[in-house]
């Protein structure tokens, strides 16, 4: 773990822990949004660019397990360990939320789904048995232009059951 003050002192250098791996990225301005450091500097393209202004959630990642919009967090301000969709689970060993997404065949174009899944995983970590209203509140910041909301609702419930051992 590192502290933002140290980053600021180093100037154009950012240290990040992403999916368990430490990165010491030289020559990146600390104000660059985390999203673009992940995508263009580290080649992690699971987090998507959709709006750049916290309106769509396609860029959602976790910092210390909590969902954040990576387009809104300056790389120099990152306060903890970053997890992207690539670090949540894999095609061979999907996270229970991903498994629920596969089971319900939620994705259409799929472009929003990395963000939806990261948001849902964070929601369930905080609220293991969400009510319909909890799901509405927790997931409404994530836009899906294809309209997969009914299956997102179902998949969140299935994932909740899976995570609680049901």
């Amino acid at each position: 773990m590192f502290r933002p003050e140290e980053t600021a002192k180093r100037g154009r250098r950012v240290k990040l822990t992403v999916n368990g791996t430490g990165h010491d990225i030289k020559d990146v301005e600390p104000e660059m949004p985390l999203l673009w450091v992940l995508r263009d500097e580290l080649g992690l393209t699971g987090p998507k660019y959709g709006c750049g202004i916290a309106q769509c959630g396609a860029c959602t990642v976790h910092i210390d397990g909590v969902a954040v919009r990576s387009c809104q967090v300056a790389a120099g301000d990152v306060w903890g360990a970053v997890t992207t969709i690539e670090g949540l689970g894999t095609p061979e060993a999907p996270h229970p939320v991903q498994a629920a997404w596969i089971e319900h065949q939620v994705a259409q174009c799929g472009y929003c789904q990395s963000g939806q899944i990261m948001q849902a995983a964070s929601l369930l970590a905080e609220t293991p048995a969400p009510s319909d209203a909890d799901i509405d509140d927790g997931m409404s910041g994530n836009l899906c232009r294809c309209g997969t909301y009914p299956r997102i609702r179902e998949a969140v419930k299935t994932a909740a059951a899976k995570l609680s051992g049901g």
Partner: protein, 746 residues
């Protein structure tokens, strides 16, 4: 039907114009199947048995030329081939294939000719067949119009069957057996003694044979894959962040580009000062473009920032700068001089209305952005005598031609790598992004340049859905709808869109009246007139095209007349309906919603119907008036696509279409001020969010005699059903979208 003569004359024009256009090549040319493009470049020992099946010693690849923008096109195309080829979906790879005339889309002609899709008369069928010739000739490898399934239904199954029979023939030759003694299963030919010979082992022999010509397609009762729930081939990658889209392209040495175009779309770029931008971190080059500038940098965000720092002198909008000008132009288009079509004219509307109409109303539908979640992007590498383009596109052959024109490199050396698309809704029927990326890449030959539009650039240069206005009148008598007269004015989508590809759009534009003139009702006096407004802001096809506005106009006007007659909205639609599959979907939603059953106070129920792309779709929407505003509680949908190939995907697409239709009807518009689109991001163009999403119940029917696609037909009835439900709940009739201008939504 009135005007049969007019139609016959137009029919002839369509046919002969196409033939005139093709004379240089001869009509015979139309009938010759295009060459199989997989035969160029074939590895040793590989067989490309048809343009859709490629078998090497290692693998089986199915070619799925229609673009996948989220509708599951790759999966359904693969399943159609695999069903007959006798391979399982986990045994194959898919590839979009090269741009080639072999992959022409024959189903598109269905909506380009002036016959209702319910019309199976000889005249209608002949005209569709004539239209097929030019489409084949032009090789329009287009994804659109909900045509992937109708176009591929026979063609892809046939491709699988031909390949299978040829592989059996190869096995028969190698093993000295009679073909009739062989069967196929899971990617192998099974010999009578039970030996499995994998297709891969037969590839080199099969390649020396003439493909089988006598094949019969299996009856649906024999299907293994089709008609049953399937797992889409992209579902795991899309759930694990491992699906690559165009925007994720990476190549050694790649640079990232951003763009800034005249905020007034299509306006000039008169000059620019890039001195500040050029000093910025990571900026490699600032390049002038038609109508704007592009910035090449070493990181997308740096390119975005630098593009904003360029000072640009913009020319004025080539269309009215303020919305008033657009609405005025539409309002002034309801004149004989602007009349584009009147394909529906039954009874005597004028005589009936001269006795006094019961209604005279005006409806409006705004410009709308497609705004798929993945902003448009393209990666282009200009090399020595060769260009590579990586992008998601619905029009690969146009892209290839346009890149060839720009670079001066022959089309055959322009390689289009078609990629997965993060949504389109018609947006990827345009290729500006590729043209701009090519111009940028030409400034840096040898370096792959990835151009990504910022959300703001994408939304404000979207080529939106048409703006449209409708004027309706009518008359009721004895509790029934007796006279229905609808005029619709809009600019021509086809002229605007095809014009950008340098193609003429001759004749009346059916999209001006689509979803209205072709509805399956018999009303004593029934007229639908299309008026072609002058070109305003440039527009393009938006999920369901003309029907996206006209379904709302037609069905709500009908609803108003039914209420004026004091009739029941569902019963009166059924009484007027003259098409069995359409009646069936109306009856289905009636049953599903318990139509006529009791509702709570401040609740209302509305029915909406539209037949578009050959698919009748009915919806019942239930709303409540709450203290926070209108809440959509439930939606019941029934649609008939003839045959459902994947029930899971079908249900998802129907729900998605309903949400798309409702979300835009509620919340969205693109408006222009000082020539620029005022909505630049999802804060002002939200679509529907999850908390507003109602419970949706879907019922698919399979009685219609032709197979159809479901991508678009659920969109048009949604706005109408919502407007009708709000009227039922509140007594307020909404005649203009977005409804949020007039009511709050909870």
């Amino acid at each position: 039907m009135a005007g049969l003569k007019t139609i016959a004359r137009r029919t002839f024009l369509i046919g002969s114009a196409a033939i005139v256009g093709g004379v240089a090549f001869g009509v015979y040319k139309y009938k010759t199947p295009p060459a199989n493009p997989l035969l160029d470049d074939l590895p040793e020992g590989a067989a490309a048995l048809t343009p859709y099946v490629l078998i090497t010693q290692q693998s089986i690849t199915l070619i799925t030329p229609r673009a996948d923008k989220g509708q599951g096109a790759i999966s359904v195309q693969a399943a159609l081939i695999a069903e007959e080829l006798d391979v399982e979906l986990d045994q194959i790879k898919t590839d979009p294939g090269p741009p080639s005339p072999a992959y022409y889309n024959t189903a598109l002609s269905g909506d380009a000719v002036p016959f209702r899709s319910t019309d199976d008369s000889v005249l209608a069928e002949t005209t569709r067949a004539v239209m097929d010739a030019p489409i084949k000739f032009l090789g329009l490898q287009i994804t659109g119009g909900s045509t992937t399934v109708p176009d591929g239904y026979d063609k892809l199954r046939m491709a699988g069957a031909v390949a299978r029979e040829t592989l059996k023939e190869a096995a028969a030759q190698i093993h000295g057996l009679d073909v009739a003694a062989l069967i196929t299963e899971r990617g192998a030919v099974i010999l009578p003694d039970g030996t499995r010979v994998p297709y891969q082992a037969l590839a080199s022999t099969a390649a020396t044979l003439e493909p089988a010509t006598e094949v019969t397609l299996r009856a649906p009762e024999q299907w293994r894959l089709l008609g049953k729930p399937m797992q889409r081939v992209d579902i795991v990658s899309k759930s694990t962040g491992t699906q690559d889209y165009g925007i994720d392209q990476d190549h050694p040495g790649i640079l990232h580009a951003a763009i800034r175009l005249n905020p007034a779309q299509g306006g000039e770029m008169r000059g620019f000062d890039a001195s500040e931008a050029e000093k910025m971190r990571g900026v490699v080059k600032v390049v002038p473009l038609p109508g704007g500038i592009g910035v090449i940098a070493d990181n997308t965000w740096r390119a975005f920032q630098a593009a904003l720092a360029v000072e640009v002198d913009w020319g004025p909008a080539p269309y009215p700068a303020e919305m008033d000008g657009h609405w005025t132009a539409l309002g002034e288009s309801f004149t004989p001089a602007h009349q584009d079509s009147q394909f529906r004219d039954a009874g005597d509307v004028d005589a009936a209305l001269s006795q006094g109409g019961d209604l005279a109303v005006e409806y409006r539908a705004p410009y709308l952005a497609h705004a798929p979640l993945e902003p448009v992007n393209a990666t282009v590498l200009v090399g020595e005598g060769r260009v590579d383009v990586w992008t998601g596109t619905q029009i690969p052959r146009f892209v290839q031609k346009n890149v060839a024109l720009l670079t001066g490199i022959d089309a055959e050396n322009v390689h289009i790598h078609a990629l997965m698309i993060g949504g389109s809704f018609g947006h990827r029927l345009e290729d500006d992004v590729v043209r701009h990326a090519t111009t940028l890449a030409m400034a840096m030959p040898g370096t792959p340049i990835k151009l990504t539009y910022s959300r703001g650039e994408d939304m404000t240069h979207d080529y939106p859905r048409q703006i449209a206005m409708a004027r309706g009148q009518g008359r009721v008598s004895n509790g029934q709808v007796e006279t229905f007269d609808l005029g619709i004015a809009m600019p021509s989508v086809m002229a605007s869109q095809m014009g950008r590809q340098g193609l003429p759009a001759a004749g009346p534009d059916l999209q001006i009246v689509a979803g209205a003139w072709d509805q399956p009702f018999d009303i004593a006096n029934y007229r639908v007139t299309g008026y072609r407004a002058p070109e305003l802001a440039p527009i393009s096809s938006w999920r369901s095209v003309g029907a996206s506005s006209n379904g709302f106009f037609h069905d709500c006007l009908l609803d108003e007349l039914i209420h004026a007659a004091g009739a029941d909205p569902l019963a009166e639609r059924l009484r007027l309906c003259n098409h069995a599959p359409s009646r069936a979907v109306l009856e289905a939603v009636g049953e599903m919603s318990n139509w006529g059953g009791a509702l709570a106070a401040r609740q209302g129920r509305g029915v909406g119907f539209c037949l578009s792309f050959g698919v009748p779709c009915a919806q019942v929407v239930e709303v409540s008036e709450t203290d926070a505003g209108i809440k959509i509680d439930r939606v019941f949908v029934a649609a008939d696509v003839g045959r459902i190939l994947d029930p899971v995907n079908f249900e998802g697409l129907v729900k998605g279409g309903v949400i798309f239709g409702l979300g835009h009807a509620m919340n969205c518009e693109i408006t222009y001020a000082s020539g620029a689109a005022e909505q630049e991001n999802f804060d002002s163009f939200p679509g529907m969010r999850l908390y507003q999403c109602p419970e949706i119940k879907v019922h698919g029917l399979e009685s219609a005699n032709k197979i159809r696609g479901i991508g678009e037909p659920p969109v048009p009835p949604a706005a109408a059903a919502l407007g009708n439900a709000i009227f039922a709940a509140t007594g307020t009739r909404l005649r203009e979208m977005p409804f949020s201008k007039f009511v709050d939504f909870a």
